[in-house]
C-alpha cells in the first residue's frame, strides 16, 4: 500500500518539475534567442515481487514499478523566427551555429542573441557588455556598418567612397548543442557533453548565414507550452487522487479491527 503512496508522490514531484520548466519557457517567450527546454521523463526501478519462469510455463514475472522521475531537461535548438529591427548591429544566425562573446576572464561563451552594441572604445559588445569574439573595433568616424551573410564586417567612413573591411565574425558549431550549459543572460557555456566548438566563418561547413538588421526571437510556442501545462496539471491532479485513494484504503484496512 505504501508503494502506491510513494509512487504517486514521485509522479507528483515529476509533474511539478515539468510545470517549473514550462513556467520558465513561458517567462522567456519574448526573450531574444531563447531556446525552449523540454523535460524528459522516465520510469523508475521495478521490484520483482514474483519471478517468472520458475517451475511453470508462464514466463511473465510480477513486477511492481515505483513511479516516474525527470532525467534531463533538453533544450530544443530549433530556429526561432527572425524579426527585422533595422539596427545595423543586430545579428541573427539563420541556421546552425552560435555567436561568440568573451568574458572579462578571457573565457568564451556562446549565444544566439545577436543584439550587439558599441562600447565607449568602439568595440562591438553584447547588451551585457561582453566583447564579441573575435574582437572588432569600429572607428569613431564610421557612418555605416555592413555585415555580409558570410560574416565580413565593413565600415564606411566619412568622406571615403569605399568601405573598409575591419574583420570577420565567426560562428561556433557543436556536435551536441543540447549538452551546452545555460548560464543565464542568453549565454551558454561549453561542457564535456557538448564537445569542442568548431569555429568557422558563417555559411561554410554547415553553419548558418548571418543576417544583419534581424534578431532571432524565442522558439517558445506559447500554445504548445499551454498544452504542456494543462497536461502536467491534470497528471498532477490524478496522482494526488491516487494518494487520497491509497490513504482511504489504509483507513479501511485500519478499521477492519473494531
Amino acid at each position: 500500500m505504501l508503494r502506491a503512496l510513494r509512487t504517486a508522490a514521485l509522479g507528483m514531484s515529476a509533474q511539478q518539475t515539468s510545470v517549473d520548466n514550462t513556467a520558465n519557457n513561458l517567462a522567456n517567450a519574448n526573450t531574444t534567442g531563447f531556446k525552449r527546454a523540454t523535460v524528459v521523463f522516465q520510469d523508475l526501478l521495478y521490484q520483482s515481487v514474483q519471478r517468472g519462469g520458475e517451475g511453470d510455463q508462464r514466463p511473465a514475472a510480477m513486477q511492481l514499478g515505483s513511479g516516474s522521475a525527470i532525467v534531463a531537461t533538453q533544450r530544443t535548438f530549433l530556429q526561432g523566427s527572425l524579426m527585422q529591427t533595422g539596427n545595423s548591429l543586430d545579428l541573427a544566425v539563420n541556421g546552425e551555429g552560435f555567436l561568440q562573446a568573451r568574458r572579462p576572464d578571457g573565457s568564451v561563451v556562446y549565444t544566439r542573441d545577436g543584439a550587439f552594441t558599441l562600447d565607449a572604445d568602439g568595440r562591438i559588445v553584447t547588451q551585457s557588455g561582453l566583447a564579441l569574439e573575435p574582437d572588432l573595433e569600429v572607428p569613431p568616424e564610421t557612418q555605416e556598418i555592413q555585415i555580409s551573410s558570410d560574416g565580413v564586417v565593413r565600415v564606411r567612413l566619412q568622406n571615403e567612397p569605399d568601405a573598409l573591411e575591419i574583420g570577420r565574425i565567426e560562428v561556433a558549431q557543436f556536435s551536441n548543442p543540447a549538452g551546452l550549459r545555460s548560464i543565464g543572460a542568453n549565454l551558454y557555456e561549453q561542457t564535456e557533453a557538448s564537445g569542442e566548438p568548431q569555429i568557422g566563418p558563417p555559411a561554410e561547413g554547415g553553419a548558418g548565414l548571418l543576417q544583419q538588421g534581424f534578431l532571432e526571437t524565442s522558439n517558445v510556442d506559447v500554445v504548445q507550452e499551454m498544452v504542456d501545462l494543462i497536461t502536467a496539471q491534470r497528471a498532477y491532479e490524478m496522482n494526488s487522487k491516487m494518494i487520497t485513494t491509497s490513504e482511504e484504503m489504509l483507513q479501511i484496512a485500519n478499521s477492519m479491527k473494531r
Binding site: 503512496l5 509512487t7 514521485l10 522516465q42 564537445g195
Partner: protein, 237 residues
C-alpha cells in the same frame, strides 16, 4: 469460516498490488514511450472446504500492454517514434541490450547517438556516430544520414512472445529470448511516442480497487461478527 477470512485477506493483498500498478501507470501517464502495466490473476487451485466455502490459490502476473501510444510531433531531428511494432535497442549499464520505445535521442560530445540517460543507441553495425554539419535525416527504414552521407541504421527488433519482456528503469525492457529484427520498420523522424496509459481507465481502476478493497474488508468484519456471535451464544448455552 476461517477460510472465508483467509480468502478475503488474500484478495485484499492482491488488490493492494493492483493499486500499486495503477499508481505506477498514472505516475507515468506523461512518460514518453511508457507501456501500461497490466496484470492478470490466475486461479491455480480451487477447493471447497467442509462448510462449502470455496478457497482458491491465486497468482497475479504482470505484462506490458504493447498498444501504441499517440505520436507527438516535435520537429526535433533526433526524435524518432516507431509507427509499427518493435523496439529500439540501447546499451544497458552492464553492456546487455535494452529495448525501448522512447525515441528521444541526443548526441554526446563525440556525436554518438544516446538516450537522455546516456545509453548508446545501437545501429545494425554498432553505435551510431553523427558527424556535425549538414541536416540529419532518418528514413522510414531507420537509415540515418548526415548531409547526405549514410552513418548507420537504427536497429529495430521485436519478440515472438511479448511475455518474455521484463521491465527495467529508463522506460526500457530486457528479455531472455533472442530478439527478431523487424523486416520493415516504420521509423518516424521528428515525432515521439507518448505513454499508452489511458488516464480515465486508470482512474476508474483506482476507484474500483478501493471499493473492492472495502467490500473484502466488510467480508472480514462480517465473518468476524458471526464468529463472535457464535462464540457468545454457544458459550451462554
Amino acid at each position: 469460516m476461517l477460510l472465508r477470512l483467509r480468502n478475503a485477506a488474500t484478495s485484499m493483498a492482491d488488490i493492494v498490488h493492483r493499486q500499486d500498478r495503477t499508481a505506477n501507470n498514472l505516475a507515468n501517464a506523461n512518460t514518453l514511450g511508457y507501456r501500461r502495466d497490466r496484470s492478470f490473476t490466475e486461479v491455480l487451485r480451487s477447493e471447497i472446504d467442509a462448510e462449502g466455502s470455496p478457497q482458491s490459490d491465486r497468482r497475479t502476473v504482470g505484462q506490458a500492454d504493447l498498444v501504441a501510444g499517440a505520436l507527438d510531433p516535435t520537429g526535433n531531428p533526433l526524435d524518432v517514434a516507431l509507427g509499427g511494432e518493435g523496439f529500439f535497442v540501447v546499451d544497458g549499464p552492464d553492456g546487455a541490450p535494452r529495448y525501448t520505445r522512447a525515441g528521444r535521442f541526443l548526441t554526446d560530445a563525440d556525436g554518438t547517438l544516446r538516450t537522455a540517460n546516456g545509453a548508446a543507441v545501437r545501429g545494425t553495425n554498432g553505435p551510431i556516430r553523427l558527424p556535425s554539419g549538414g541536416p540529419i535525416l532518418i528514413t522510414e527504414g531507420g537509415e540515418v544520414t548526415v548531409g547526405g552521407q549514410r552513418v548507420g541504421t537504427l536497429q529495430v527488433v521485436t519478440f515472438e512472445d511479448a511475455g518474455t519482456l521484463r521491465r527495467l528503469d529508463d522506460t526500457s525492457f530486457t528479455s531472455a529470448a533472442p530478439p527478431v529484427a523487424v523486416a520493415a520498420p516504420v521509423v518516424r523522424q521528428g515525432f515521439v511516442e507518448g505513454s499508452n496509459v489511458d488516464p480515465i481507465r486508470e482512474m476508474a481502476d483506482m476507484i474500483a480497487h478501493v471499493r473492492l478493497y472495502e467490500a473484502q474488508q466488510k467480508t472480514v468484519q462480517t465473518t468476524d461478527a458471526i464468529l463472535g456471535q457464535v462464540a457468545r451464544d454457544l458459550g451462554s448455552f
